[in-house]
């Protein structure tokens, strides 16, 4: 009834629906992803020393992840919001189960054996935590009451705490970040943000004084890896040599001597950016960073045009989480940030993180293609 009252010219609604929209696919995002994933295939082939089997396996995983993304895109955000508390609860229970029944390999019990597959509940939490925090703000007035922020921060703290004791500090921090982004976009007052950052800055030297000598030593090695000549420092030096020797034009496809002579460790995973930069040079790096920027900007646009709180906060958080992954990896391999074993998103070989990432893109596409209101 209402729809018929509005003339097409009044509407921001672009009609008719294209076939991409019917499939719930965002063309621009898909374009960006396909370009990045193709780059990934080429670079993995080269970094593995022309190993067809590895590349093929990687290709299949990419296809699987793309398929999963399309499937997820069919679920509307409102349905997603409905299952959110349950998904989060399931994730929480699985994290607890890992603590109790997890693979008792001393030191790291991150895996849960579900009979058919071994599964890392923290992967589920990468999606479920930001969804849960976004859900908290989905139906409340603006400005959101302080209680919501307090509940949100508590949920983040509990989840991060459960993952820290697995122990997996890196993942825990990244998952906490994805929740904090939601809170940031939900409008946590600047006063509090700046206050918290100042508090952390002040508490660092205090914590330093309380640390044992060996703990201080570990932090120092972490901050300055080059002090460990056989370990991570050696890797960073080799990584910088790889990037620098690429020059402006690069050594050409399959031309990474650093990887092929085994000077670069983990050349298909953590240090794949160095192989890429060595082979394709500064020009390649500019193109890669542009592709990333394109995907990031498109993600933020989807957040901007989203029509409800839940979708908007989720889209913002997923996009910024991708940005953090990129930053941590490139910062590490170029010697700007400490060494954290994290792959370069969408480019590195394999891993369940690729699948998780593609599901989050599926959700972004769903948000963009399931709009109910005609105007905003």
């Amino acid at each position: 009834m209402i729809r018929s009252l509005i003339s097409p010219s009044d509407s921001l609604y672009v009609s008719p629906k294209s076939w991409l929209q019917k499939l719930h696919v965002d063309g621009w995002l898909l374009l960006g992803l396909i370009l990045l994933l193709s780059t990934s295939l080429l670079t993995v082939y080269s970094a593995s020393g022309g190993d067809l089997q590895t590349t093929q396996q990687h290709g299949f995983r990419i296809l699987f992840a793309l398929g999963l993304m399309l499937a997820v895109a069919q679920v509307s955000p409102s349905n997603l919001a409905l299952i959110t508390p349950w998904a989060f609860l399931a994730g929480l229970l699985m994290l607890l189960a890992v603590l109790v029944f997890g693979d008792m390999g001393k030191g790291a019990q991150r895996w849960l054996d579900l009979g058919i597959v071994r599964f890392q509940p923290s992967e589920l939490m990468k999606l479920a935590l930001p969804m849960m925090v976004a859900w908290l703000f989905a139906y409340c007035d603006f400005p959101a009451p302080a209680s919501r922020f307090i509940i949100g921060l508590t949920i983040i703290a509990i989840t991060a705490g459960l993952i820290v004791i697995q122990p997996d500090l890196g993942t825990s921090i990244l998952i906490a970040m994805s929740g904090l982004f939601v809170i940031f976009f939900a409008g946590l007052p600047w006063k509090i943000i700046i206050g918290a950052l100042t508090a952390i800055a002040i508490s660092m030297p205090v914590a330093w004084n309380f640390m044992h000598a060996y703990q201080k030593q570990r932090v120092l090695t972490f901050m300055n890896p080059e002090s460990d000549p056989l370990g991570s420092g050696y890797h960073i030096i080799q990584s910088k040599i790889a990037i620098g020797s690429g020059g402006i034009e690069g050594k050409g496809f399959m031309g990474s001597t650093q990887a092929h002579l085994e000077f670069l460790p983990e050349s298909t995973t953590d240090f794949i950016f160095s192989v890429f930069a060595e082979e394709f040079g500064l020009i390649g790096v500019v193109i890669l960073l542009s592709l990333y920027s394109f995907v990031l900007i498109r993600g933020l646009m989807i957040a901007y045009f989203a029509q409800d709180n839940f979708s908007r906060l989720l889209a913002g958080s997923f996009t910024m989480t991708l940005f953090i992954y990129i930053t941590v990896n490139i910062g590490m391999v170029s010697g700007l940030l400490p060494v954290v074993g994290l792959p370069l998103p969408l480019i590195s070989y394999g891993g369940s993180s690729m699948v998780t990432l593609m599901i989050s893109f599926g959700i972004l596409m769903s948000i963009h293609t399931h709009k109910k209101m005609l105007t905003d």
Binding site: K106, I243, E278
Partner: protein, 608 residues
């Protein structure tokens, strides 16, 4: 109506403000992304443009690689300096496909040069090579000896891409002897990787898995050195620029006497069982036998599935360390300890006698003696010499299980001995509290009766028995069994002694057990003339027969009684204490006592 309009207005206002704030935050996010990416671009320009020449030079001259040098693992010697575990150089070939010109031709030539390598090995290796990235080195799973290595070395110019690697391999010089004590090393597993300091294992491929090799891993494993190596374009070493030498692991000198160890092992002759010999003066382990054994050398370079499964599923379970992990009912070997405690606590006197008709009735149940026709009038001493069960049945009802527990606990029953071998079992020393905690049930007095002859819930390890026997031999001075020289307790505790005569009374009974015709170990001890051995036999029921007669012929071999013996010698100033368990072998006097007595005699006469 007006109200509703207001509400709608408010809602719209709220939405607009919300949208505005969200847009602000998005803009801020874009700003952060912009700043960070600009920073990255600046870094890349710095690395790839401004410093390109320098890094290109480094990359082209990147012929200098840093390689770890594995430390030599500590060797292990016995108390007399006989080497038990050694390291010997072995050689292997490593292939880098990228540098091999023609793989098929090369493999054929290798086969001609080294016909000792099985063709299947090479065939399988070729498949693995083709699956591995071209630039990654793979090691041919074949160990070359000195002469093969020399043959390859003079021909190495014909094989670009193949390098001869030398490394040290762990060798157990005594083969299977003392394997449960020494343990073995094996490949570092995923599991190991989680618990070790990886920087200490750079260049090292194996790690102690069990026994001494595992317990003293920290001492045995040294610290790696490092070497800066200049290589040519093919990755071949030209010269070594700088070397920081590794620090070798510590050598260990053990307390065991490998001659006594082998002597005992020969006496077992692959029968299932265990024996532990201790020097009671200081707790040094002289021999630590678990039989049957296996060859630890199989594990060093990774054991094959076939071999491992064969060991795992062997009916005699050779992988189990029976000496410290095997738990057996102690049977009558507990009698001297309970008897001593009963004397000290006043539950019986040195001259108190009972009449033994061959059984003891309690609550409508008949507890039989091992000798059906009974021993007649018996005092405590005789009840140890001839192992009279009824004496203990009767006395135990006065004592109660908690007194028995408190008597046996100081001797180390039901607790780990603290030996420096991992995975020691605790055994079970029952008490009322223990049963309540374990089964949630109250204690029955009938259970006290069978506990008094070391049956029922009671379980001990041969190591615990040897420790308890040592403490008895020491007249109450507590020792801690250990295998590494110089680990004796500095200030050993002493079990409080009420009356020294009680101790000598019990020890005299144990001497008579071996040296008088009535004693249960007379058959084994009759030829020992020039010094005294104190001992006690035990026959532990594995399978409880309710009524029917015990017929060895009809019973499955695996349900036969365990034969046990504990003892020490010389009785006055003990130099050796021993425990022997032979599984399902029948009577302790007939089977276990001869092993223990021969070993002690051999040690005192030939070795000590």
């Amino acid at each position: 109506m007006n109200n509703l309009n207001n509400l709608q207005f408010d809602e719209t206002q709220s939405r607009i403000r919300q949208k505005a704030l969200f847009s602000n935050r998005l803009l801020f996010a874009v700003f952060i992304i912009f700043v960070v990416f600009c920073l990255f671009m600046a870094r890349m320009v710095f690395l790839q443009w401004f410093n390109h020449e320098a890094y290109l030079g480094l990359s082209e001259g990147n012929r200098i690689s840093v390689e770890p040098i594995a430390p030599e693992r500590g060797k292990i010697y016995d108390r007399n300096g006989v080497i038990l575990v050694d390291n010997q150089p072995v050689y292997s070939l490593s292939f880098m496909r990228e540098l091999v010109y023609d793989l098929d031709y090369t493999l054929n030539t290798i086969q001609e040069l080294l016909p000792e390598i099985r063709p299947e090995t090479l065939e399988q290796f070729k498949k693995r090579l083709l699956r591995t990235p071209r630039h990654r080195a793979l090691i041919l799973p074949y160990t070359l000896d000195e002469s093969e290595a020399a043959r390859f070395a003079v021909n190495s110019y014909r094989f670009p891409g193949i390098t001869l690697n030398a490394r040290l391999k762990r060798v157990y010089t005594q083969n299977q002897s003392a394997v449960h004590l020494l343990g073995y090393v094996g490949r570092i597993s995923q599991q190991d990787n989680l618990t070790i300091d990886r920087s200490r294992y750079r260049g090292t491929e194996s790690i102690g898995k069990t026994g001494i090799e595992h317990f003293y891993e920290d001492k045995l494993q040294g610290y790696p050195g490092l070497q800066r190596i200049e290589t040519n374009a093919q990755g071949r070493t030209i010269r070594s620029l700088e070397t920081i030498p590794p620090i070798s692991g510590q050598d260990l000198t053990l307390t065991i006497d490998i001659r006594l160890q082998r002597y005992l092992e020969d006496l077992f002759d692959d029968r299932r069982g265990a024996a532990v010999a201790i020097n009671p003066e200081n707790g040094e382990i002289l021999a630590f036998v678990s039989s049957p054994m296996f060859d630890p050398n199989m594990f060093v370079d990774g054991i094959s599935h076939t071999n491992y499964n064969a060991l795992l599923h062997n009916r005699n379970k050779p992988l189990i360390n029976r000496a410290s992990r095997g738990q057996y009912p102690p049977g009558s070997t507990t009698k001297p300890f309970i008897g001593l405690g009963a004397l000290e606590a006043g539950f019986t006197g040195m001259d108190d006698t009972i009449f033994d008709p061959g059984y003891f009735d309690f609550q409508e149940r008949r507890y039989r003696n091992w000798r059906r026709d009974g021993h007649g009038v018996t005092n405590l001493q005789r009840s140890i010499v001839e192992s009279v069960d009824t004496y203990f049945y009767k006395m135990s009802l006065d004592m109660g299980i908690d007194s028995i527990h408190d008597i046996l606990a100081p001797f180390g029953f039901g607790a780990q001995t603290g030996i420096d071998i991992p995975g020691e079992a605790t055994g079970i020393l029952p008490s009322q509290q223990w049963k309540m905690a374990t089964y949630g049930k109250a204690w029955f007095r009938g259970e006290t009766i069978i506990s008094s002859i070391g049956q029922g819930f009671n379980l001990t390890t041969p190591l615990q028995l040897a420790k308890a026997t040592s403490i008895l031999a020491n007249r109450g001075r507590i020792i801690r069994p250990h295998t590494l020289k110089g680990q004796a307790l500095e200030s050993p505790e002493q079990i409080p002694i009420k009356n020294r005569e009680h101790w000598e009374y019990i020890i005299d009974a144990m001497i008579d057990t071996v040296h008088t015709p009535r004693g249960t170990a007379w058959g084994a001890g009759r030829h020992i003339k020039d010094y005294k051995i104190a001992g006690k036999t035990g026959t532990a029921q594995v399978f409880s027969l309710n009524d029917g007669e015990y017929n060895e012929e009809e019973l499955d071999k695996r349900l036969h009684d365990h034969a046990l013996f504990v003892g020490f010698a010389p009785a006055t100033r003990p130099k050796i204490a021993i425990s022997v368990v032979v599984e399902n072998a029948g009577g302790g006097g007939r089977v276990a006592a001869p092993i223990a007595i021969q070993a002690m005699n051999h040690y005192l006469k030939e070795l000590e």
